[in-house]
């Protein structure tokens, strides 16, 4: 039998899951993460460590950087990638997303359309990365985990995330379309 015609292949692998299924699963797994590791789920803070490791591999040193000056941060950097739970989790997210795309035959190398697209993506990435570090978290660590932990800061983050998204959308339509 052709797997592409299989009902469950279509339901579970091929078609996108409803938002509500995703929401329930994310909630469940973030509870498990908090309960087992003692830390709320986060994504972008880990990327700062990846940046530091890359920088050190290239011969740089972050010894004097205030961001990495705490005892915990130093120890994490010294122990390396394979001993850092958060890094392995981020790696898992990337592998999982790739697997989901491949299994649904949805993988494609996309063409870069214009220079504008490169500029927009670079600017957007820099602003998001900078904002996530200066705000002590991204939409996962500060928003999702914040609200899930009944922290007021998560709701404040949500309010300004919406304001930022509105301004960003207007700029996108005005300059990049």
């Amino acid at each position: 039998m052709d797997i592409k015609k299989n009902k469950y292949y279509k339901l579970w692998i091929k078609d996108a899951w409803p938002y509500i299924t995703g929401a329930v699963l994310l909630s469940l797994f973030q509870i498990i993460t908090l309960a087992t590791t003692g830390n709320p789920w986060g994504v972008s803070g880990i990327l700062a460590n990846w940046g530091a490791w890359l920088y050190e591999t290239a011969g740089g040193s972050v010894d004097k950087w205030y961001y990495f000056s705490s005892e915990g941060a130093r120890r994490t950097l010294e122990n390396g990638f394979m001993n850092h739970g958060g890094s392995l989790r981020n790696l898992g997210i990337i592998i999982g997303a790739l697997a989901a795309t491949l299994l649904s035959s949805g993988f494609k190398f996309k063409k870069i359309k214009s220079w504008k697209q490169i500029i927009a993506a670079t600017l957007g990435g820099l602003l998001m990365g900078y904002g996530a570090r200066i705000g002590f978290g991204c939409n996962i660590g500060a928003l999702f985990s914040g609200i899930a932990s009944l922290s007021l800061s998560g709701w404040v983050y949500a309010l300004f995330l919406f304001l930022g998204a509105i301004i960003g959308s207007k700029l996108l339509v005005k300059y990049f379309m």
């Binding site: 795309t101 870069i112 359309k113 959308s169 379309m177």
Partner: protein, 75 residues
């Protein structure tokens, strides 16, 4: 009755949706708008928007990671 193609290949959300919204305004009732996309999120939000507007929508898988959203303007 005409058929209009809208090339949104290589565009990420929300650009395909905004482009489709603008394009369908230029069309007459009965015209068909074919939006070409390769961003899986657009496969969710484009049909959702078009159906909410009351248009007829069909999704066609063209290739791996490439789809056409066929929207018939009905009002």
């Amino acid at each position: 009755m005409k058929e209009v193609e809208l090339d949104c290949l290589g565009e990420a959300c929300p650009i395909p949706l905004v482009k489709a919204e603008n394009k369908i305004k230029e069309l007459e009732i009965g015209d068909v708008l074919i939006v070409q996309i390769d961003h899986s999120c657009a496969m969710k939000n484009l049909p959702e928007w078009a159906r909410k507007e009351g248009h007829n929508v069909e999704i066609e898988e063209i290739d791996d990671g490439e789809w056409e959203i066929i929207i018939e303007k009905v009002k």
